[in-house]
């Protein structure tokens, strides 16, 4: 029962965030934003260029590998950074 209540709270908060974004879009606050075609920030490998009007092909593993590489890179940098910081702290003690 408690879990269901918690789930409902999560959904209500999520719906509020979504509604706020929809409201902002309806008010024209987000509509004027321009996004680069095809590529967002970060690494993307493979793909057909990602043009909006283009019918996307299926079975392109490059995109999947790109996302995995991107996440692995971020995780590795942060984990190694944390270990270096930890080692420095230990040494300074």
């Amino acid at each position: 029962m408690k879990s269901i209540l918690h789930g409902v709270i999560v959904l209500i908060v999520a719906a509020t965030i979504a509604w706020s974004a929809q409201f902002a879009l309806d008010q024209g606050k987000l509509g004027d934003l321009h996004f680069a075609e095809g590529r967002g920030p970060g690494l993307r490998i493979g793909g057909d260029g990602g043009g909006e009007g283009r019918r996307r092909g299926q079975g392109n593993v490059g995109e999947l590998v790109g996302t995995l590489l991107e996440m692995t890179a971020i995780t590795t940098v942060v984990v190694i950074g944390g270990k270096i910081r930890q080692a420095r702290r230990r040494r300074s003690r």
């Binding site: 999520a14 509509g31 996004f35 493979g46 996307r56 299926q58 593993v61 995109e63 996302t67 940098v77």
Partner: protein
């Protein structure tokens, strides 16, 4: 198996499912749009379960944030909050531009084209935030897998 171990085993299953679903769902050119959309719907449902399972953490750290919490705890809370907002908007924008799931469910949504750009932006932001989320919990993940493999080999 003790209750804590059982809970941890379930956590591993749920978290692995979320991670795999997210990575595969971020590659619509790999899966095709229909699978991308259905997988994302499943991902949204498992995210709710993930939050319910970790509800105690949300409350404890949330309250601690208001009172007194270390820099690491505050960073983790803010990161998770941003991740929740990004994933919520990612899912909502996905629903708004749905071509397969919503029509299949008989729901006619004609979302504004701006959602398309926002969907891609939130996807890229989520990739970065999930990478950081995994990194912050790296020690927990490694310890959990070590413990699980030890119990399996016994």
């Amino acid at each position: 198996m003790s209750d804590v171990r059982k809970r941890n085993a379930w956590n591993v299953v749920i978290d692995t499912a979320i991670f795999v679903a997210f990575v595969v769902a971020t590659a619509p050119r790999f899966t095709g749009i229909a699978l991308h959309e259905w997988l994302s719907i499943a991902f949204a449902a498992v995210i709710v379960i993930h939050l319910v399972v970790h509800w105690q953490w949300v409350i404890t750290v949330g309250m601690g944030f208001i009172r007194r919490l270390g820099a690491a705890g505050r960073f983790s809370f803010v990161l998770n909050l941003l991740l929740f907002i990004a994933v919520t908007l990612l899912i909502y924008s996905g629903v708004a531009i749905s071509r397969d799931v919503m029509p299949a469910l008989g729901i006619d949504i004609r979302g504004a084209m701006a959602w398309r750009g926002l969907h891609r932006a939130f996807s890229n932001i989520s990739v970065v935030l999930i990478g950081l989320h995994v990194a912050l919990h790296w020690r927990w993940i490694v310890n959990l897998f070590r413990r699980q493999s030890r119990t399996m080999t016994k």
